[in-house]
Amino acid sequence: MNVDGMKVSYASHGGQAAGLFVQRPPVVVDAATLDPTRASELKSLVDAAIAAPSPAARSDKTRDEMSYTITVQDDGHETRLSQSDTTMSAEFRRLLDWLRHHPGS
């Protein structure tokens, strides 16, 4: 994967504030705008999240749980990961936390 050509976006869904999220566009992080250290860090997190085993099926009894969609675009390839609060993998959570705390998110 070419780090410079990578764009990672994330969107939040559901929860008590679902009305806010439903009309918000995804937050996009363009690796080309990051310094090399941060770009490399992002790539490692993305690779780990994609390689992590699929999470357990979500319970149909949860209510107001939030879910998140992370989309990775790289050289014409698109990978879409969608996981929720109660079922997300540790790798997905680490990537999500990185994206959330990225300046401008």
Partner: protein, 407 residues
Amino acid sequence: MNSRCRCINCITPPHILKKLLENPDGKVRDAALRTLLTTASLRGERRIRSLMGFAAAPSGARRTIFDCNSTTTLPSATLARSEDGRPSSDQTANDAFDGLGKTRQFYKEVFDRDSLDGNGMRLNGYVHYGSAYNNAFWNGSEMIFGDGDGVLFTDFTKSLDVIAHELTHGVTEFSAGLEYHNQSGALNESISDVFGSLVKQWAGQQTAEQADWLIGAEVFTPGTSGDALRSMKAPGKAYNNPTLGRDPQPDNMSKYVNLPDTDDGDNGGVHINSGIPNRAFYLTAIGIGGFAWEAPGHIWYASLKASSAKTDFQEFADTTYLQAGQMYGQQSAEQQAVLAAWKEVGIRISGVRALAGTATRIKKQAALTMGNGRDQDQEIMRRIDELSSQLATLTQEVASLGGGRPH
């Protein structure tokens, strides 16, 4: 009604019964309405009985609050406060504890319901979930609260109606089991808003006129411009600013928002279209007046128990009308308030629409006939008398099916 008839009635799908309410034959309409009333009551009882098998063992609805210490792993959370323990040094834990207690007390004192399952289910809450987590949710058996990011949102335990909202998801799961998609999901959300708001009003002894009818007003930081997460009084007007956007809730069926049944479509807009039944409840409460947890709350609670997993707005509206008639009498002020409220949000009660339409057509036809100089008065009068008789019979039978008049 004999036992054989009742048995057949129980397996008649509600949508067919609703269609029969529009049948030109008054006897058919009459039978359909009686069947709807009977099955609605049985459905609620049956649902509760079926859940008794796996409901938690009675525990006196004891409360326990755990501290997630900013992690998302519930098993590693530490005890923050228990039913017999002393108050915590952490105000968030105390707020969660108190919110669970007020909600438990509300359901017990107002609806004589012992905890969420009606069987003393234990109440567990988890505070300080995750890092800057902007939410509170029900995981199917327990409550989880985030601290907020401190920018848009603050501690979610600060809002009693949010706590009661989440716990009411448990009540709904143990009664109607409304599916969390599309209209049944929006109804599920609305039920949580209705009873969430009622717990707050009950705790503050506020009348319908005094209440703010806002959900989550306390979770916005002072720097966040907006009234609340949702407004039951004015759906679509809870917030409108560049940071949050504009409240997308509709206040009328004509503005129903069709969203995909996906995560990014909010499961068909369950948090969006809940504005419609939310406003119907608000209008009912204002129409009846006084404390909203009394007649309006009892009508909605009985209707929830009489609903099923796929109940949609129309079916729920019809049920509230029928329940209001059963509990407070046909044509009572309470029933009329329910009828007017649903009409105001663009939902007409099924049976009433058919009957009213028939009467209107007859009146128009009579006027037209008189204008044409035709001598068909006797026939018109006979049909009006017949309709009036059917209505009177229907009213008496419905009243006889009802129980005592709850407070």
